[in-house]
């Protein structure tokens, strides 16, 4: 098996090193890095804007580029947190706690240097995990019938909606709204148009680009307008040679990096616990096992290395369930799955076999992309710092234009711009009511496949609901669902000590921009 994996990986490098694929990978990580730095622009909005532009290129290039935006943005987000104390990207919110004090002490450059190293370590581990774990998952998943697929999707949806931030009940509500939005359009089996309100444009369903850009573009801009104050850049003069950490800082960061990597990779295996939870958890752990926990928050280099490593290892690990089972863990992964489907590729366990070039090419490109990012970040740090100073008032109008033209180019149809506006307004209302819109996208992407498998399972069992418990594998998934719900109720009602301490440790710091 080990040999097989290496042969496949070798093949993957062959695909990823084709000149045009290297180019798309470069474009992806560069754009990702850039938007990661810009306060108020997230990878979600960026991937949705770029999505229509990838219709014209080959599937491999498209997926490499869109994924590059996602992990590239993680490199950029750290810069924003460390130099400006702006937690504009949720996974990096905890990095502020120790990163900014370091900047104030004049060690911001070193913190950035450590960040780059830990990111690379974390990412490399995540990729290795994917190489060996994904084929095993696929082997198991290929045996699944409709009942198993259905229960697995249920587990994925439940985990994705309840483990994200905010109230779990509201997360579930949003997932159902997403599933309902996925129903809009013609019924797969009978062709009956459902919930289309007799609008012919809706017969093909709600456009995923319009949904994503409405929720994470327009609604976000409405939330953030006039909220970003002048950015103080007194501390953010970093030169190239500042990036070198001192010998002591380096020595202290190495074990922290490996602990972070481990926590991140564990988190990535549970659907729904993306990079944000991983980074918060690793910070709390690092503080707990440190010999000097009281010094955390005053500029401890471990407090930067550990969360950054775990963010990156979980970002890469997020791709495992997405690519091998076709079950996305968060909204970004849902978008990447959406991109695959638009290219005419059915996500699921058969993907590795039928589209080996995409799967192994993607894995190989992760390494290429991460190396490009390390090389890119070191000399360009000056440029990124300048980008940080672009005020939000210039940023969001320009971004709105890209939203409009992006949605328009999806089908060259003006109707979809209108659709986006309506979804954006509805999304903002939901935000005001404390709903987080990320699970909507999850439900939307999985919805049609969920319904199809559900119908098939019920047909095969002649309408017997117990089929989901009668099949052993399916029963395990259902059992996990029940455990998940029970655990949520327990945490809500009792609020065990662990949770309270965890909230205390991280200072309850929450990022101003949700939706990741």
């Amino acid at each position: 098996m080990f040999e097989q994996a290496l042969t496949d990986l070798w093949y993957g490098f062959g695909v990823a090193l084709e000149p045009h694929n290297v180019m798309w990978c470069f474009v992806g990580v560069f754009v990702g890095n850039m938007v990661g730095v810009l306060p108020g622009m997230g990878p979600l909005a960026t991937i949705s804007i770029l999505l229509p532009l990838t219709f014209g290129i080959k599937p491999v290039g498209a997926i490499l580029m869109l994924s590059g935006v996602f992990y590239g943005a993680q490199y950029g987000g750290a810069i924003c947190s460390i130099l400006l104390n702006l937690p504009c990207h949720p996974p990096h919110a905890v990095t502020c706690l120790d990163g900014f004090p370091l900047t104030k002490k004049g060690r911001g450059g070193a913190a950035l240097g450590i960040t780059v190293i830990s990111s690379f370590v974390g990412a490399s581990w995540g990729i290795t995990e994917m190489i060996f774990l994904a084929p095993i998952l696929v082997m198991v998943a290929l045996e699944f019938g409709p009942a198993e697929i259905c229960s697995l999707m249920l587990l994925g949806l439940l985990a994705g909606s309840t483990l994200a931030r905010g109230s779990p009940l509201k997360g579930v509500a949003m997932t159902i709204v997403g599933l309902l939005l996925g129903i809009v359009g013609s019924d797969l089996e009978t062709g009956t148009p459902r919930f289309t309100f007799d609008i012919t444009h809706l017969y093909d369903g709600v456009e995923i680009v319009a949904l994503a850009l409405g929720l994470f573009g327009i609604a976000e801009f409405m939330k953030s307008v006039n909220q970003y104050s002048e950015i103080t850049t007194t501390y953010s003069h970093v030169k190239l040679r500042d990036l070198r950490p001192s010998r002591d800082e380096f020595r202290r960061s190495i074990p922290a990096m490996f602990r972070g990597t481990l926590i991140g990779s564990l988190c990535s295996l549970i659907p729904g616990t993306g990079p944000t939870i991983a980074s918060f958890m690793s910070y709390a752990t690092e503080k707990k096992i440190s010999k000097t926990p009281e010094k955390f928050g005053t500029g401890m280099i471990e407090g930067v290395a550990c969360p950054e490593a775990s963010t990156h290892s979980s970002v890469q690990g997020d791709f495992i369930p997405t690519m091998s089972l076709g079950i996305p863990g968060d909204a970004v992964m849902a978008l990447i799955l959406g991109a695959l489907m638009i290219q005419g590729i059915v996500p699921g366990p058969q993907l590795i076999k039928e589209h080996a070039d995409i799967f192994w090419g993607l894995i190989a490109s992760f390494w290429i992309g991460n190396i490009i990012l390390v090389v890119l970040n070191v000399p360009l740090i000056g440029l990124w710092v300048k980008l940080l100073m672009i005020p939000y008032k210039y940023l969001y109008p320009s971004a709105l234009f890209f939203v409009c033209i992006g949605v328009y180019s999806a089908n060259n149809d003006m109707f979809q711009v209108g659709e986006t506006i309506v979804i954006g307004l509805a999304g903002y209302l939901l935000l005001l009511l404390d709903f987080h819109p990320a699970p909507v996208l999850l439900g939307f992407v999985l919805g049609p496949r969920f319904e199809e498998n559900f119908r098939r399972a019920m047909l095969l069992s002649r309408g017997d609901f117990l089929v989901f418990i009668k099949h052993p594998i399916s029963a395990v998934f259902i059992f996990l669902c029940v455990v998940l719900i029970a655990a949520q109720i327990y945490v809500r009602l009792k609020k065990p000590k662990v949770v309270e301490e965890f909230e205390l440790d991280t200072g309850g710091k929450e990022a101003p921009v949700p939706g990741e």
Binding site: I218, N226, I421, L432
Partner: protein, 158 residues
């Protein structure tokens, strides 16, 4: 008294909205689409089930709202209301649709960026104009010439 506190809670509206939405979907599925049987489901069955579940979840949210004491900040609109910002952000894409449809990409982009930029509290007419003009120029050149979008840069008519 009980009702007076309840209607000030945010979750009262959040749960209520979900109950209404779920109920409407469930009723619509029964009324307009064929339910079929569990073995052979019609187009209405799946949305009907989802509607029921959503109503139930909405009721739970409502129940939680009743059970928890009134929080400090429960108003739905944020403390500083950005009517101008919100209006401008929504007006931008609407103007993009109108001007884009009738006059082409350049005027559409210009109007979209110009109006939405005015939503910022510190925005000036001159600054917004310069921003809108440059974005429109770069954007339309990028999309029309580089990315070969079928959107004409200028046109006239309906």
């Amino acid at each position: 008294m009980f009702l007076q506190t309840l209607v000030r809670k945010r979750d009262f509206y959040a749960g209520g909205l979900m109950v209404l939405l779920g109920g409407a979907v469930a009723l619509d599925s029964v009324g307009n689409y064929e339910l079929g049987t569990l073995t052979r489901m019609g187009p209405g069955m799946f949305p009907f089930m989802l509607g029921i579940v959503l109503t139930f979840v909405g009721l739970l949210i409502l129940g939680a709202a009743v059970a928890t004491p009134l929080g400090e900040d429960e108003s739905i609109l944020p403390a500083d209301k950005q009517w101008r910002g919100w209006g401008c952000i929504l007006a931008g894409p609407i103007l993009f649709m109108i001007f884009g449809q009738f006059f082409g990409l350049f005027p559409g982009t210009f109007m979209c960026v110009f109006v939405s930029a005015l939503g910022d509290r510190t925005a000036t007419l001159k600054g917004s104009f310069i921003l809108a003009f440059s974005v429109a120029l770069v954007g339309s050149l990028l999309f029309v010439y580089l990315l070969q979008s079928p959107f004409p840069m200028f046109k006239w008519g309906f």
